[in-house]
């Protein structure tokens, strides 16, 4: 018995059959209203709660990721701040060693200069011997009136002459003494200048030290913030990591460009060494060999930077004793020089092969071969590039280290953001499930609105009757 036959309740009258079927269905749905509502609500709540639970779990994971990020960030930041402070102290130490170690000598120099100045000053303060007191007496006698007495007049004249000559000699001596004082004062000038210069030098050193201490203070303040695990420090370090990440990524892109140029310089001549027609997988062996050379150069560059303690990617190299480290520096540098020489030779070979190919192509195309002017310039250019690029690639270690360190933070932040987004979506889905349940219940009621309407009608009448009965009872009582 098919479904159509079952639904065909009233034979030969499909419309009537359909109406009867609908009425029966509505009636059945009305009867099953409560359990159906419960089922819909429980299903929607299960889904809602499930999503909420998942959202909570993801949120907890996000918090853990954020905490872990902060922990890593603050640890790395603290180490970096410690290194900076240590470096500042080293600088201060260097200044103190360089300038302050000379302070006893400087002090002696200053004392000598001051002694010189003092002596000169003392000498310059010594007054010339004043004219003797008897000169005044002679002058007084010389000024006495002679009253016409020739002998007395002669005596007085002689006295006067003696007085004048004495005065002149005294003045002469006085002038000499003044001139000597002036010359002494003049001698003091260079000492004063030297003293001033020495004090300026000291001043500069002190100012320099003062500035360094200010830098140390600010670094210490940052370090304290980091040690106290404040939000400000975390934000500051995150922003710094982000900046580092993008800058180092940009520099790495430039380095990749350099590596590509390097690769093109040596890929063709490598086919002369390993064969142009051989493949490893889908890649030409010559290309792989060229890539290996570039990667070896990069590795050597990394080791060199590590050995020089410029980067700190491999702790084992940093922990080596100085003798071993120096050996490593020389070994890596020698390998780099050899590789640079090989690259330069390969670049030369590339130029020759390319020129030969060009000549062959021209011959095949029946074009007259011409030797371009200044042919040596690109050859030399390629050789120089081949020699320099390996050393230039050495410096990739610095942005690589920044990239590796900052990417930890950036990936952590991105992960936290992703987890937050997942939380939001899960919550949204949970709420959607909840309100879908409500919506389905309403749709259910809409489908069975006739019996519901009747039920409401009957109930309202019952309520009215009950109300009347209660009023009557109250009146009677």
């Amino acid at each position: 018995m098919s479904l159509a036959q079952i639904l065909n309740i009233w034979p030969n009258s499909p419309v009537l059959s359909l109406i009867i079927a609908l009425l029966v269905a509505v009636f059945l749905l009305y009867l099953a209203r409560r359990p159906a509502h419960k089922a819909i609500y429980s299903l929607s709540r299960v889904i809602h709660n499930g999503f909420r639970l998942m959202a909570r779990s993801v949120l907890i994971a996000e918090k853990k990721v954020v905490e872990r990020n902060n922990e890593v960030l603050l640890t790395v930041g603290a180490k970096a701040a410690e290194r900076l402070i240590e470096r500042e102290f080293h600088r201060v130490d260097a200044v103190v060693r360089r300038d302050m170690s000379g302070y006893p000598a400087l002090q002696r120099k200053l004392a000598d200069q001051i002694t010189h100045i003092d002596e000169d000053y003392r000498e310059s303060t010594e007054l010339p011997v004043p004219p003797p007191d008897w000169v005044k007496a002679v002058e007084t006698l010389a000024k006495l009136p002679s009253k016409g007495d020739g002998w007395v007049a002669n005596i007085l004249g002689e006295i006067h002459k003696t007085g004048v000559s004495q005065y002149k000699s005294s003045m002469e001596e006085h002038r000499k003494a003044v001139a000597k004082r002036h010359s002494l004062l003049e001698k003091m000038m260079p000492y004063w200048r030297k003293l001033s210069q020495t004090l300026d030098q000291v001043d500069k050193t002190i100012i320099g030290l003062h500035e360094r201490t200010r830098v140390v203070d600010s670094r210490m303040a940052e370090y304290e913030e980091i040690r106290n695990k404040t939000d400000k420090a975390a934000h500051m370090l995150t922003a710094s990591s982000m900046t580092q990440f993008f800058i180092s990524a940009f520099v790495l892109l430039i380095a990749i460009g350099g590596a590509v140029i390097n690769f093109n310089l040596i890929a063709l001549p490598m086919s002369e060494m390993v064969g142009g027609g051989s493949y490893i997988g889908n890649f030409k062996t010559s290309n792989i060999a060229a890539l290996v050379i570039i990667l070896v150069e990069l590795a050597m560059g990394l080791y060199l930077m590590e050995s020089l303690r410029i980067t700190h990617l491999f702790p084992i190299i940093g922990q080596m004793d100085d003798k071993m480290r120096t050996r490593m520096i020389w070994v890596t540098f020698t390998i780099l020089v050899i590789l640079a020489g090989v690259e330069s030779a390969l670049a030369f070979m590339r130029d020759r092969i390319a020129a030969d190919m060009q000549v062959l192509r021209q011959a095949l195309a029946s074009v007259e071969t011409t030797q371009p002017a200044m042919r040596w310039i690109p050859t030399v250019g390629q050789m120089v590039m081949g020699f320099i690029l390996p050393f230039a690639l050495t410096f990739v270690a610095i942005p690589l280290e920044s990239f590796v360190h900052s990417s930890r933070t950036v990936v952590g932040v991105a992960m936290a953001a992703l987890l937050r987004l997942i939380t939001f979506v899960l919550r949204l889905l949970g709420d959607a499930a909840y309100y879908t349940g409500e919506f389905l219940v309403n749709i259910y009621d809409l489908l069975i609105f006739p019996p519901l309407w009747l039920e409401n009608l009957i109930r309202s009448k019952e309520r009215q009757t009950d109300a009347k009965d209660s009023i009557v009872k109250e009146e009677v009582s």
Binding site: E272, G276, S278, I280, L364
Partner: protein, 216 residues
């Protein structure tokens, strides 16, 4: 530690020299040149194709050129054949030598009485299989009209699996102009024969687009 170092060095040396796959990526090209009758006049175009091939083929590839004459299933009909060295510098020298041989042939090319294309194709398959090339191309520079000498048997299936047969510059004969169906029949017959032998068939009449010859 020493063992580890030795193993690493061995791995690197194997990677760089021992393992390379030299066959599957190499190309083998065998060009058949029809030198019969009026088609002899088309050799200039054939020279351009050879020049293009010499400029395109890479170290490790193989190239051979043979003429189609009255009995082409013979090594004697191979004008020049070469498997290019792995080193580009030597490859260039080989290409120059190849060109010299071909130019010498073109200067003294003589017409043949019959056209044994099937024999040439069989010889091409034999040569290409010997080279062990990954991609095998048989270029037939002919009008595809086969004319066999009395007693020569060529009406049997040819094994062409893995070979790409490219018919180049299939010129229309005077009789084709009277009844073009003859031309189409000729081409279709060759296509059917190649495909029956598990080969790939292609027809290129526009020689301005030489880059399509070795296209996949």
């Amino acid at each position: 530690m020493k063992k580890l170092l030795a193993f690493s060095l061995l791995s690197i040396s194997l990677l760089l020299s021992g393992c390379p796959d030299t066959t599957t990526h190499s190309q083998g090209v065998y060009m058949l040149l029809d030198s019969s009758g009026t088609y002899r006049l088309e050799v200039k175009k054939a020279q351009a194709i050879i020049n293009y091939l010499l400029g395109t083929l890479q170290p490790g590839d193989s190239l051979a050129m043979a003429r189609i004459d009255s009995a082409s299933f013979s090594e004697k009909d191979i004008i020049a054949k070469m498997t290019f060295d792995r080193r580009p510098s030597l490859t260039n020298q080989q290409k120059r030598l190849f060109k010299q041989k071909i130019d010498g042939f073109f200067a003294t090319v003589k017409g043949s009485a019959f056209t044994d294309i099937t024999g040439g194709v069989l010889q091409a398959v034999e040569y290409l299989n010997e080279t062990g090339s990954g991609k095998k191309f048989i270029l037939i520079f002919s009008d595809l009209k086969e004319e066999l000498a009395k007693g020569h048997v060529r009406d049997f299936p040819i094994e062409l699996s893995g070979c790409r047969v490219v018919a180049l510059n299939v010129t229309k004969l005077r009789s084709d102009n009277i009844d073009p169906r003859e031309y189409y029949k000729r081409v279709e017959a060759w296509q059917a024969r190649v495909e029956a032998g598990a080969g790939h068939w292609r027809l290129i009449n526009d020689l301005e687009r030489l880059d399509t010859i070795l296209a996949e």
